[in-house]
């Protein structure tokens, strides 16, 4: 402080004025104070003096009367008095007197409360946004909407989805109940005040116009008690509402304020957007599932005399279809040979998958005419050349598989520009099947050299696509898996059933790639039985890539199994 004193100022900066003011002046100062002051005599707690503000806040105080109202205690009080929130501090004045200093905190507390409310609303809407955007599944979105509503807006909530086939799905959350779900006939919607309008997308009817007494008894569980306030809000969607939200507060005094209604509408807008995105996504998924059903690898039949194992992995993880394919066509009526095919359309992804679909369809038709594998390749070549589409070629191996005597299996194989199949012999050696031929879909004439191999019991023939041998990885991260390694690993599968051998190769190449990118990979193995065929058909078939199947057939399979 001294350092701040200007040099040579001579006088200290603060002084006490040694003049006693007149009592009238003191009194005027007290009256002018913005804080309420009440001076009391300690003896009998009698009010001696109360300034103007004190008279305003505590009109019951009378000088000369005992102090009353909230002015109690030794130190301080906080109380609500005549609709105002007061805060008072008691201070001793001299041996016989003390004073109360009372402030009016009503406005400040209201501001704080509204700020707190605003904050909690913002937090609620932020949480709602985060949780609603997490899922693209309609039921989960619906459930999340109801959960958020009962956590922040009402005692009980129902989300009603739009009418679909005369029925509306709903989810209800109410205190003391697990989430409930069900459907509601369209004609019953009219029993709930405002619901038909909300589902038609009209703006919500203000809560005070909805008589909760008109709500049907089935709307909420009986133990919720009387519904004091009801709010029915549309969940806005794309062009049409995504559903409606019914909110209820229990107790006769319950109400929704205008702010509550506004908050509920803001929330409903978010929930509606999330729900309609989920609906859109589910529609797309349903469409895609139908379209790609024919492009997915087939379920393997269980032919007599030999076993099959197959695996297919699309290059893109989120897609289940690509440019590689395999197919197994069982014997036609009266025939005895099974046709197998495995191929690779140039490119990956849906464009390539569409062409694999055409190739497979052509093969199925050719199968019915009963032509040899090499002739199937020739006709396929013509068909692809004449389809007039942009140049897309395909390489594939077609084989006709037949059981012959002594448990042996004969394969006639024809390759159109595809890596030749490998055969794992009973002694553990690996041979290459000597078939070769030109690419399919490029040249007007194909040249195909077919080959015939026989498998003794336990021997295995592997058809594969070059995605397997060209998979890059290994210790250096950039080395191809290669044909040599494939042969060695295939030799290591000696003694394994076809499905197990294919699964093992899939695992080895996956480890080789070590999480890096890879091309489509398809494998199909035929193995002559070592012992009589298995009793368990279908149910135990080990699909090389079960997660491919789960989403595709899960529903169908479980409905069959459970029906």
């Amino acid at each position: 402080m001294t350092a701040l004193t200007p040099a040579g100022a001579g006088e200290p900066l603060t002084r006490t004025i040694p003049v006693a003011p007149a009592p009238a002046l003191l009194r005027a100062a007290m009256e002018a104070a913005t804080e309420a002051m009440v001076i009391c005599a300690a003896d009998g707690d009698i009010v001696v003096l109360a300034n103007a503000e004190a008279q305003r806040l505590l009109p019951a105080l009378r000088p000369g009367a005992p102090v009353a109202g909230p002015l109690t205690g030794d130190a301080s009080f906080r109380a609500e008095h005549e609709g105002r929130r007061l805060y008072g501090v008691r201070r001793p004045l001299d041996d016989d007197h003390y004073a109360w200093f009372v402030g009016d905190h009503t406005e400040a507390e209201e501001r704080a409360a509204s700020l707190e409310l605003e904050r909690s609303r913002t937090a609620f809407l932020a949480e709602a946004g985060r949780r609603l955007s997490a899922s693209l599944h309609v039921r989960r979105c619906t459930r999340t909407t109801a959960e958020l509503a009962v956590a922040h807006l009402a005692d009980a909530a129902i989300v009603v989805l739009p009418v679909n086939g005369g029925q509306c799905s709903w989810i209800r959350l109410s205190p003391g109940h697990a989430p409930e779900e069900g459907t509601l006939a369209e004609r019953k919607l009219a029993e709930v005040p405002g619901l038909v309008e909300a589902l038609d997308g009209f703006p919500p009817i203000p809560s005070q116009w909805l008589d909760p007494a008109l709500a049907p008894g089935w709307l909420f569980p009986a133990d919720l008690g009387p519904v004091g306030a009801l709010l029915v809000i549309p969940l806005p969607g794309n062009a049409e509402p995504a559903g409606a939200l019914i909110l209820a507060r229990g107790g006769n005094q319950a109400a929704f304020t205008a702010e509550d209604e506004m908050l509920a509408r803001i929330f409903a807008a978010r929930a509606g957007a999330a729900l309609s995105a989920a609906v859109l996504y589910q529609e797309q998924v349903a469409t895609t599932t139908v379209l790609q059903a024919d492009l997915l690898p087939p379920e393997l039949p269980q032919p007599d005399g030999f076993e099959l194992g197959a695996s297919y992995q699309a290059a893109r993880d989120s897609l289940r279809i690509g440019g590689d394919f395999y197919d197994v066509l069982g014997p036609p009526t009266g025939g005895s040979d099974t046709v197998i095919a495995l191929g690779d359309v140039c490119g990956t992804g849906p464009e390539a998958a569409v062409l694999t679909g055409k190739v497979r369809q052509t093969l199925r038709a050719l199968r019915l005419v009963g032509v040899a594998p090499e002739d199937m390749l020739r006709v396929l070549n013509q068909a692809l050349l004449q389809s007039g589409r942009r140049q897309r070629f395909v390489t594939l191996v077609i084989g006709s598989v037949q059981r012959v005597e002594h448990g042996r299996v004969r394969l006639r194989l024809a390759s159109g520009g595809h890596p030749p199949p490998l055969v794992l012999r009973a002694d553990g050696t690996v041979d290459e099947v000597p078939t070769k031929g030109t690419l399919i879909g490029v040249l007007p004439q194909t040249v195909v050299t077919p080959a015939t191999v026989e498998l003794a019991p336990g021997e295995l023939c592997l058809l594969y696509s070059d995605g397997l041998t060209e998979a890059r990885g290994g210790p250096s991260g950039d080395e191809q898996f290669g044909e040599e390694r494939l042969r060695r690993q295939l030799a290591g599968c000696h003694g394994m059933p076809a499905a197990v051998a294919v699964e093992r190769l899939r695992q080895l190449v996956s480890d080789w790639v070590h999480g890096g990118p890879r091309d489509d990979i398809a494998m199909l193995a035929v193995r002559a039985h070592t012992r009589p065929p298995l009793s368990l058909r279908g149910g135990g078939a080990r699909n090389a890539s079960p997660y491919l199947v789960a989403a595709r057939r899960g529903d169908r399979r479980s409905s069959r199994a459970r029906s």
Partner: protein, 343 residues
């Protein structure tokens, strides 16, 4: 693990089943399981004690070099089919909810998860079993398409923990709680919580109990997930190819036998060094040296039963260690590993 008194599986049943799967005799193995079911043994006991118990013995037989890879894989395949046959014979109405089951990307031990799938189905869940090694994007796509009440994630090998972390984080971001299971999550599932799983179960039956009695877990707002994987981890993962290449290059100098390795032996050695790097990376990722020492001890035992001197493992560890001199945590873990196999 309680077995009802009158319908107990006998040691003879277990031995016979082991023989059958070792033989790859699916027909007889299925027959045995069916006759036990008919005799009144609960399906859960067949799944847990017969199939699960046998699978543990198969693993031991492989580790002790009594069974080869082909036999082990064939036995597992037979058990999968027995499991499918048991499932086909036991029909339980699905009344609980829907659950998605998957093995972490790169995790190929699918049978334990498949067993859990059947246990859950028997408990009334509608189960989508996505199988072994499920890519993360597939899992999330599936969640959006089916909206399950839970994801059960299986991880048997700790090297998949970083992938498990990514999968758990993604599932939770998609609003679906995760229950983790499998040895990969460590003793008492200690890494499961670290990686953000909502729950962990030591056994399939424990998972069934937890999901039936205490699910869903409370929603935790604002959980951005833990960031794991420090600089050392990142370096190790990035430089994995160079680490292995350098170690392979220096190998013949310290281990003269390597001069005459054929391609298969070279591949096998590089793969082993890759495992060293991967387990070290996993240990660094979760910050627990036990993952690495456990791996070193287990490898030493597997080598010993195959007549390979433990010295070969020490050579490999030293070749990796020499390249990580600037990484104190990695060095400490390798040294602990080396100390664990000192004798």
């Amino acid at each position: 693990m309680t077995v009802s008194t009158d319908l107990r599986l006998t040691a003879a049943d277990l031995d016979r089943y082991l023989d059958l799967v070792g033989d790859g005799d699916e027909r007889e193995a299925v027959g045995l399981a069916m006759s036990l079911l008919d005799a009144g043994v609960p399906a859960q006991r067949i799944i847990v004690d017969l199939i699960g118990g046998t699978q543990a013995r198969v693993g031991e037989l492989w580790a002790s070099n009594e069974w080869g890879v082909a036999k082990e894989h064939s036995a597992t395949a037979v058990s999968e089919r027995v499991l499918a046959a048991v499932a086909a014979r036991t029909d339980v109405p699905a009344g609980r909810g829907r659950i998605t089951l998957a093995c972490v990307d790169g995790e190929w031990h699918g049978l334990p998860a498949r067993m859990l799938a059947e246990l859950l189905r028997l408990d009334g869940w509608r189960v989508d079993f996505l199988g072994a090694s499920v890519p993360g994007r597939h899992l999330i796509t599936h969640l959006h398409q089916t909206g399950p009440d839970a994801v059960a994630l299986s991880c048997m090998i700790p090297t998949r923990l970083p992938r498990a972390h990514a999968a758990i984080t993604a599932c939770r971001a998609a609003g679906v709680p995760v229950i983790a299971g499998g040895r990969g999550f460590g003793p008492h599932g200690r890494y499961a919580q670290l990686l953000g799983a909502d729950a962990w179960a030591a056994t399939g039956e424990e998972a069934v109990t937890r999901l039936a009695s205490d699910w869903p877990p409370e929603y935790v707002a604002d959980d951005p997930g833990t960031f794991l994987g420090d600089e050392e981890y990142t370096h190790l993962v990035r430089s994995r190819p160079q680490l292995i290449a350098t170690a392979m290059g220096r190998l013949p100098a310290v281990f003269p036998g390597a001069h005459h390795y054929d391609q298969a032996q070279i591949d096998a050695t590089a793969e082993d060094l890759g495992h060293v790097a991967d387990f070290l990376a996993a240990a660094l990722y979760v910050g627990d040296a036990e993952i690495f020492t456990g791996f070193v001890e287990w490898t030493a035992e597997v080598l010993r039963t195959r007549g390979v001197p433990v010295g070969a493992l020490r050579v490999g560890l030293r070749l990796i260690r020499d390249q990580l001199v600037d990484f104190p945590a990695a060095l400490r873990m390798i040294d602990e590993g080396v100390a664990a196999i000192a004798d």
